[in-house]
């Protein structure tokens, strides 16, 4: 069961780049890393997924070092609407655990 560790909270300001790091020391060889975003009173929403190196989409980038024991979600130029909880997940759905996530607060 792959366990993940993230900071409980982070603050940022509009227009800044935000990097949220997740530790997953016991990641299995076949595991992918998936990030979800959850706004208050809504269900989680898929942001990005990767296996190694770097993945980029229209919303974020995901950086994964060679040892894959951690990953960093990068949100470029955040806005107030990016205030949410961000979850890092590893493994199969049945093995994944949504922990407390990282509560990102973007300030004006």
């Amino acid at each position: 069961l792959a366990k993940t560790t993230q900071p409980i909270s982070m603050d940022s300001y509009e227009g800044q780049e935000v990097n949220i790091t997740c530790s997953h020391n016991n990641i299995a060889t076949n595991d992918y890393i998936t990030w979800y975003q959850q706004f208050p009173s809504q269900g989680p929403r898929f942001i990005i997924q990767g296996y190694k190196t770097k993945v980029t989409n229209e919303v974020a980038s995901l950086f994964i070092p060679a040892d894959r024991k951690s990953s960093t979600l990068s949100l470029p130029r955040v806005s107030l609407s990016d205030t949410a909880v961000y979850y890092c997940l590893v493994g199969e759905v049945g093995d994944m655990r949504f922990g407390a996530g990282t509560r990102l607060t973007v300030k004006p």
């Binding site: 076949n30 595991d31 992918y32 998936t34 979800y36 009173s41 809504q42 269900g43 989680p44 929403r45 898929f46 997924q49 909880v85 979850y87 493994g91 199969e92 759905v93 049945g94 994944m96 655990r97 949504f98 922990g99 407390a100 996530g101």
Partner: protein
């Protein structure tokens, strides 16, 4: 054109009652899930169904019974409701069976309050 929908959005009931929450997905996905998010905001999987068959059944009281009449629906029935059942319940779906690359799509949640 909501992808994953749940009804009702809010449910307030008395202890001991029986209630159901309905979930429907129009994405053509093969697998559906139920999650519980408690007051501390931890989101925990309860069940998953793949093509109407139960594939994940986490340790939840047997008062909780999922029912999948077809691939697009997964309802959650709860008997003899208790105070500790108060939480937000999320339905989700995914294309595959919940493998390592599967992406889940979540519904808006049902906030259950047991008085």
């Amino acid at each position: 054109d909501t992808a994953v929908s749940q009804t009702p959005k809010y449910l307030v009931t008395q202890m001991g009652n029986d209630k159901s929450i309905k979930c429907e997905q129009n994405l053509g996905h093969d697998t559906m899930y139920w999650y519980k998010q408690d007051s501390k905001k931890f989101l925990k999987i309860m069940f998953s169904y793949n093509n109407k068959e139960l594939i994940i059944n986490e340790t939840v009281p047997n008062r909780f019974s999922p029912k999948s009449p077809d691939k697009a629906h997964l309802n959650l029935h709860i008997n003899s409701l208790e105070l500790g059942d108060s939480a937000v319940y999320f339905c989700a779906s995914s294309q595959g069976w919940g493998g390592r690359t599967d992406t889940q799509y979540f519904g808006p949640g049902t906030r259950l309050t047991v008085l």
